[in-house]
């Protein structure tokens, strides 16, 4: 998700329940489908009108306001900026600026769309750009700065669109630059990240149906290191990644009742992951005496890694009666991957080589001696039944079988010893991870039910949705303790982190989530007042690892017994039960909201990974926005009460821990072990101008 900026997004589809095979593939959970802002085509010369779904004219004002509109604004009226001898060029756009108080965050973004209309040819050019930066944020309770939460990022995208007689071509080029970005729960920070992408899209309507074809290429240069608030030395770690591929999808309405979707896609990925050599040992500082030649060569973790996926699917949607409809889909994905031989810092052992170097050297030799090519042939299927007894109520029941093949790091990470393994961690738990060539793809069986209801009286007074689910995952890939541990280098006898290896387990997850909206009042005098709410609950456990949660602290026998009876350790980073309830008021162009977020304590955790429990908390957010015809002002306060809370999914605050351990020694380090805290009170403001 980090490859796109909120400014460049047109809409996002979030498939949480059973996702169809056309929206899945090589995944076992839901789907997030982001549609970037696409070029807008306007009809020539005639002023463009905004049309809502179903052809109804969209009104920017909800209830007719008794207050007269603002008589004069010194701004061009949106949608009127035209150029060219015959006014064939129409320019529209928005320019926004943001300010966030807690972390001195500033951001600017712009969208500019140019339409050129000539006879039947319609051209459109869209530019999206944004830039933002922030310093470290303050925790709540007038708290300290949370180190390594600063960042700067910049995104630019240019989209050229051409439309003619039902055919649309789009070419998009995007550039992203993240000069620095702190990661509080990781060992290192991002010190440089540049990504370039090109994307061509064709959409066509034919007599038999619609066709969508896409080809893309993406390259990223990525460097991790230390920002100055974490550590004073630097030892970069570099990854070069490249994605490329195509997808073709046809949607064929076979009859009034039947719709077929057929698709095929290829996704290639190439990766080079290495840590440059350090012959003098200088960047390790005091870790090794200079001149000990401990790192004469580059440490190559993934050497020419490649992962390819070829996927094909067929999907059939049928409306049997006006009430009943069904969707059935099958999908095949062939995933093949390979990597070249790895190389350790020290291909040769010297008499004074440290033990860690010897162990890793042995590991890479074993890794290189094995056949590393792997091919997985995966089958997915989805079956969904939909029942709509009358307009305004809908019930959906579905089952899906979904498969994900391991990624390159899960299979091919070969370092086994010491803090080296801690560099392969995207969980944020501080532990070290090592790969496993024998991993099998994980397979999820998911059943979900969804009920949705809406007031169809025309007043649209309420709506509600609830969706319980159960997922059983075979071969769930997770870390298993190898028995190896390490301290934070070089502070001895401090916090003990585990060295884990990826293995296959069985796991289950179940829960329920829902949302609702009730209109409390609507009148021309007072506008519209409504309450909206969202609740989510999920429980998950690893069926192969014991759960020592109920053992008294320090009772080793109970912990061992819990592992033997296999009661199910918690899965890492599951959000505890939580709810968001908001009161929204809107009159004319003014909208205001008060939102409260209630989060239960997180107490069922992954003891295997040393996950922390987190206490319950409640946050209050306030926001207001005023919309003129061509201007919008946003003002808000998040976390009004300045509550100090731990982010349930924040992970181990490694920057805080290791900085204190390095500077003030073991005891200070141990005293500062904590979950990453959330942001304290934050005032923000935004200004948007449209033309």
């Amino acid at each position: 998700m980090s490859y796109t900026d909120p400014n460049t997004i047109g809409r996002v589809e979030v498939v949480t329940a059973v996702s169809s095979v056309s929206k899945g593939g090589d995944s076992i959970g839901g789907s997030i489908l982001v549609t970037p802002k696409s070029p807008v085509f306007a009809t020539p010369v005639v002023a463009p009108a905004v049309v809502g779904p179903g052809g109804a004219p969209a009104s920017p004002i909800v209830a007719a306001s008794p207050y007269p509109p603002v008589p004069y604004l010194p701004l061009p009226v949106p949608g009127t900026l035209r150029f060219g001898p015959n006014n064939e060029v129409l320019a529209t756009g928005t320019v926004s600026a943001f300010f966030r108080g807690n972390n001195n965050g500033v951001g600017v973004s712009a969208n500019i769309n140019m339409n050129i209309n000539m006879a039947n040819d319609h051209w459109s050019l869209l530019y999206n750009g944004s830039w933002q930066r922030a310093t470290n944020y303050h925790a709540g309770g007038n708290g300290d700065k949370v180190l390594s939460t600063n960042f700067m990022s910049e995104n630019h995208a240019v989209t050229l669109g051409y439309q003619n007689e039902g055919h649309l071509f789009t070419f998009r080029g995007a550039y992203q630059n993240i000069p620095y970005q702190g990661y509080p729960n990781q060992r290192m920070d991002m010190t440089r990240n540049r990504s370039y992408s090109l994307d061509a899209l064709y959409k066509g309507a034919f007599e038999w149906g619609t066709l969508e074809a896409r080809a893309y290429w993406h390259q990223v240069f990525h460097k991790m290191g230390f920002l100055e608030d974490r550590f004073w030395l630097n030892h970069p770690m570099i990854a070069l990644g490249r994605d490329f591929g195509y997808s073709v999808k046809a949607e064929i309405p076979y009859s009034d009742q039947d719709l077929f979707r057929i698709g095929n896609e290829f996704h290639g990925y190439r990766l080079q992951d290495y840590w440059p050599s350090d012959p003098t040992g200088f960047t390790q500082g005091f870790a090794t005496p200079p001149g000990s030649l401990s790192r004469p060569f580059a440490n190559v973790n993934i050497n020419g890694g490649q992962r390819n996926r070829f996927g094909t699917y067929v999907e059939w949607e049928r409306r049997w009666t006006p009430q009943w409809s069904s969707l059935i889909g099958v999908r095949n994905d062939i995933v093949w991957m390979d990597t070249g031989p790895g190389q350790s810092y020290t291909p040769f052992i010297f008499p004074n080589s440290p033990l860690i170097a010897r162990a890793n050297n042995l590991a890479v030799n074993i890794f290189n001696a094995q056949n590393r090519a792997r091919t997985d042939i995966n089958f997915d299927m989805t079956a969904l039944a939909r029942y709509e007894p009358e307009p305004g109520s809908l019930y959906e029941f579905g089952y899906s079988r979904k498969t994900r093949s391991p990624n390159l790091y899960e299979r091919y990470t070969w370092p086994v010893a010491g803090p080296f393994t801690a560099m392969f961690n995207w969980f944020g738990d501080g532990n070290g991870y090592t790969g496993n060539l024998n991993l099998k793809p994980e397979v999820a069986h998911n059943v979900a039910f969804t009920g949705a209801w809406r007031d169809m009286s025309g007043a649209n007074n309420w709506e509600a949705r609830i969706s319980p689910f159960y997922t059983y995952v075979e071969n769930y890939i997770d870390g298993a303790r190898t028995g190896g541990t390490f301290n934070t280098f070089p502070v001895a006898n401090s916090y003990i982190f585990q060295i884990m290896q990826f293995r296959n387990f069985n796991a289950e997850l179940y829960g329920v989530d829902g949302s609702g909206r009730v209109k409390l009042h609507e009148s021309p005098e007072y506008g519209r007042l409504q309450a909206v709410g969202v609740v989510s609950f999920v429980y998950g456990r690893n069926l192969d690892i014991g759960n020592p949660q109920y053992c008294p602290p320090g009772n080793g026998l109970c912990s061992v017994a819990s592992f033997l009876i296999k009661k199910g350790d918690g899965l890492w980073n599951l959000m505890p039960a939580n709810a968001r309830i908001a009161l929204e008021h809107q009159i004319g162009g003014l909208s205001m909201a008060a939102e409260t977020q209630l989060v239960a304590p997180k107490d069922h955790v992954s003891a295997n990974k040393g996950e922390f429990t987190t206490p319950a908390y409640a946050l209050l957010n306030l926001r207001a926005a005023y919309d003129w015809s061509n201007m919008r002002i946003d003002l808000g306060v998040d976390n009004v009460t300045d509550a100090l809370y731990s982010l349930p999914l924040g992970g181990f605050d490694l920057t805080n821990y290791s900085r204190n351990a390095f500077l003030f020694g073991r005891n200070a380090g141990l005293a500062s072990v904590r979950q990453v805290p959330g942001m304290g009170r934050n005032f923000y403001a935004g200004l948007t101008v449209r033309f």
């Binding site: 998700m1 909120p6 949480t16 010194p74 960042f151 390159l408 989530d513």
Partner: protein, 118 residues
């Protein structure tokens, strides 16, 4: 280090001022929101129960406080976000995160998400 930041901030202000300065008295027309249709006064039909959609209206509302795209999804039922960098949180749906989800940002760029955390 802050000089480019200031320069860019200043040029952004200049852009806004420039658009303020190009004042013209013209006929009022309905506004165009680039990208997607606006909030709808009439209820759309309940055609899909298994997915929720974050529209341009919600993005516009939540963009001022949020720096991260993943955070825009946090108000959807069942969605949570693992903390990462300021612009690089990892979304989770019903307890399954990251690689286990199908994340398509126009194009599919899945594995590179992992190059980041170290």
């Amino acid at each position: 280090m802050y000089r480019p930041a200031l320069l860019r901030g200043a040029s952004a202000c200049a852009l806004i001022l420039a658009s303020l300065a190009t004042a013209k008295a013209q006929v009022s027309l309905p506004q165009i929101v680039v990208g997607a249709a606006q909030g709808t006064p009439t209820p759309p039909p309940l055609d899909k129960a298994n997915e929720t959609v974050v529209t341009q209206k919600e993005i516009v509302e939540e963009k001022p406080p949020e720096t991260d795209t993943a955070k825009l999804l946090e108000r959807q039922p069942g969605v949570s976000v693992y903390t990462g960098g300021g612009v690089s949180g990892l979304p989770a749906i019903r307890g399954l995160a990251d690689d286990r989800l199908k994340i398509v940002v126009g194009v599919e760029l899945h594995r590179s998400e992992h190059d980041r955390p170290r």
